[in-house]
């Protein structure tokens, strides 16, 4: 089974985010970056399916040159090779434009299964996978918690609201967006890190994949959300802050 896993590099989870002076995006120069968490679970699922059924895991990533680090780490975990769509300004593409890049870069790859994380931790559209499925003409299912390969088809467990799930069956090739927590993430081994150095990363630029077309949505301004609720914040040394909080909980909120 040939499995393509789409990954994205995003600012590390505990980054202190500051809005850029232009107001168009964040100040991203001094941030550290990591693999988008749901994509890490998609990669793990791809690796486990390959271990069970044989085949190949190909990483697909659109991002600036710095994304090469994240791709290398994914290769160290066991992916066979990677395609890196190099583009310094992905912000110029909307979700459809970005998915067109991914579809274009797949070219003649003809995967049996395409996996993505269910959403990105930065933009959080939760759409790229489904858009890619439509562009590639593949059936899809989202927010997947289990994948079982059958003869020429797959059976998946889809998460719904309020603790409900549904099984869905579909023919291959297909696309799935993977939910965090579907599996247990592995660490790269020393051997894996060593091997990754010799694995192929095919680089292609966004320009080579053709014009993205006009964007149909535009992000016009990024800002800190305003607070609707007056939060009483207590500071000082922990003991002092805790004492003030407990007094409020006892005499104002009356919950202790």
């Amino acid at each position: 089974m040939k499995i393509v896993v789409c990954i994205k590099q995003v600012p590390a989870r505990d980054s202190q985010l500051r809005v850029a002076s232009s107001g168009a995006w964040i100040q991203d120069a001094d941030l550290s970056y990591e693999i988008n968490e749901p994509d890490a679970y998609a990669l793990e699922e791809g690796l486990q399916l390959k271990e069970k059924h044989g085949g190949e895991v190909v990483m697909l990533c659109a991002g600036p040159a710095r994304a090469a680090q994240t791709i290398r780490e994914a290769l160290a975990k066991g992916a066979d090779r990677a395609i890196h769509i190099e583009e310094e300004d992905l912000g110029a593409f909307d979700a459809l434009g970005a998915a067109r890049l991914l579809a274009g870069a797949l070219g003649s790859e003809k995967p049996d299964l395409v996996l993505t994380g269910l959403q990105s931790d930065d933009l959080g559209y939760g759409q790229t996978g489904v858009i890619l499925a439509e562009l590639l003409g593949l059936p899809h299912a989202t927010i997947i918690m289990q994948v079982e390969k059958q003869d020429g088809s797959i059976r998946v467990k889809r998460e719904l609201e309020d603790g409900w799930f549904q099984h869905v069956e579909m023919p291959l090739p297909a696309l799935l967006t993977i939910q965090s927590g579907i599996n247990k993430l592995r660490y790269a081994t020393l051997m894996g890190i060593k091997k990754a150095k010799n694995k192929e990363i095919r680089r292609v630029t966004a320009a080579e994949l053709g014009s993205p077309g006009a964007a149909s949505i535009q992000l016009s301004r990024v800002y800190l959300p305003s607070r609707n609720k007056q939060t009483q914040l207590f500071d000082g040394p922990p003991k002092e802050a805790a004492a003030k909080l407990v007094e409020k909980l006892k005499f104002e909120a009356r919950v202790i």
């Binding site: 505990d14 989202t142 006009a214 959300p225 407990v246 919950v255």
Partner: protein, 328 residues
């Protein structure tokens, strides 16, 4: 610029029933209609949905489109995409809005793509500027907001986050039923059984006080730090999704859109940043307390009381102070 609200119904454990968020989306549609001085209509898809449609006719909408077909009985992305697409083309609706449910997340991007558009997902607010619609959504798990505008020609698509609009603002009126039968072919995906995992042993909804823990706890070995706080308060221990994903606490203790929705007397969020998926599961709590090292964490937007600090110092201090307060 007429507005179309696509409502959601599901037959999960019984006859078709509304997804509660649909009413909030209808409220949003009516509000947009007032502000843009445009007509609003509502649609419902499925099979055997006459009684649901009848309920919609009592609301202030122009038309109630009843989109019925045998192939719409069970949701599939292929059939729902085709049906809504045909309805949008037939009605010429310019702004088409949906509740931001798991089902909508599954097919709306496909629908928008088929029409060469991008949907704005997870909208939390909107405003009109120079007659143009500006939608507000969140970035970075709620740490930042962004204003989004549509470019190019309609139709424009958006999905509205739970709790962003109030269902109790819906205006009553009378809408005219219009039947619409789409041309459909069978779906490539085959929906099978709907199920819940083994019966939940923990009913968080019954708890009066909940202590909930998030990524800030760093590792499984640190869970006793918050367990102690829960014990001294006589509270149930709960968690945000990543903690359950990592297996540090069982899934049945998860609060949020994919876990339980709770509204206790006090909800104490420890080391939880407050992504929207978590907030929707707890923001109805009577008193919310947050302890987090990041003063900009979105959890403070819903908190009544908060301490910005290192939970490993704050929580033990809090345990001590609570013990004192209980003895006095």
């Amino acid at each position: 610029m007429s507005i179309l609200v696509v409502m959601e119904q599901r037959a999960v454990a019984g006859p078709p029933a509304w997804s509660r968020m649909s009413w909030e989306t209808l409220a949003a549609g009516q509000q947009l209609a007032r502000e843009l001085q445009q007509p609003v209509s509502a649609a419902v898809l499925g099979q055997g949905i006459e009684s649901l449609a009848a309920e919609l006719t009592g609301k202030k909408v122009d038309h109630v489109y009843v989109v019925e077909h045998d192939l719409l009985k069970d949701y599939t992305p292929d059939t729902y995409t085709a049906a809504v697409r045909q309805l949008v083309e037939r009605t010429g609706a310019a702004i088409v809005i949906f509740p931001h449910t798991y089902q909508v997340r599954d097919f709306l991007p496909k629908l928008a793509t088929a029409l060469g558009r991008v949907a704005v997902s997870d909208v939390v607010a909107h405003r009109i500027e120079d007659g143009k619609l500006v939608l507000v959504r969140q970035l970075f798990q709620g740490k930042l907001n962004v204003d989004v505008r549509f470019a190019g020609d309609p139709p424009y698509f958006a999905s509205m986050q739970a709790g962003a609009y109030r269902a109790d603002t819906i205006e009553t009126g009378s809408g005219a039923i219009e039947m619409f039968t789409p041309q459909l072919t069978p779906s490539r995906t085959k929906p099978l059984d709907l199920f819940r995992e083994a019966q939940r042993a923990v009913d968080l909804t019954a708890a009066e006080i909940i202590v909930s823990v998030g990524r800030g706890i760093k590792e499984a070995d640190n869970i006793p730090v918050v367990q102690k706080l829960a014990d001294v308060l006589g509270a149930e221990l709960a968690a945000s999704r990543p903690i359950c994903d990592s297996g540090w606490l069982p899934m049945e203790r998860q609060v949020g859109s994919s876990g339980q929705t709770v509204a206790p007397k006090m909800y104490l969020a420890v080391g939880i940043s407050g992504a929207i998926q978590h907030l929707v599961g707890m923001k109805g709590s009577k008193t919310i307390v947050a302890i987090n090292k990041d003063a900009n964490a979105p959890i403070f937007e819903v908190a009544d009381y908060g301490i910005v600090g290192d939970l490993f110092q704050v929580v033990p201090a809090l345990v001590e102070e609570i013990q004192k307060a209980k003895q006095s």
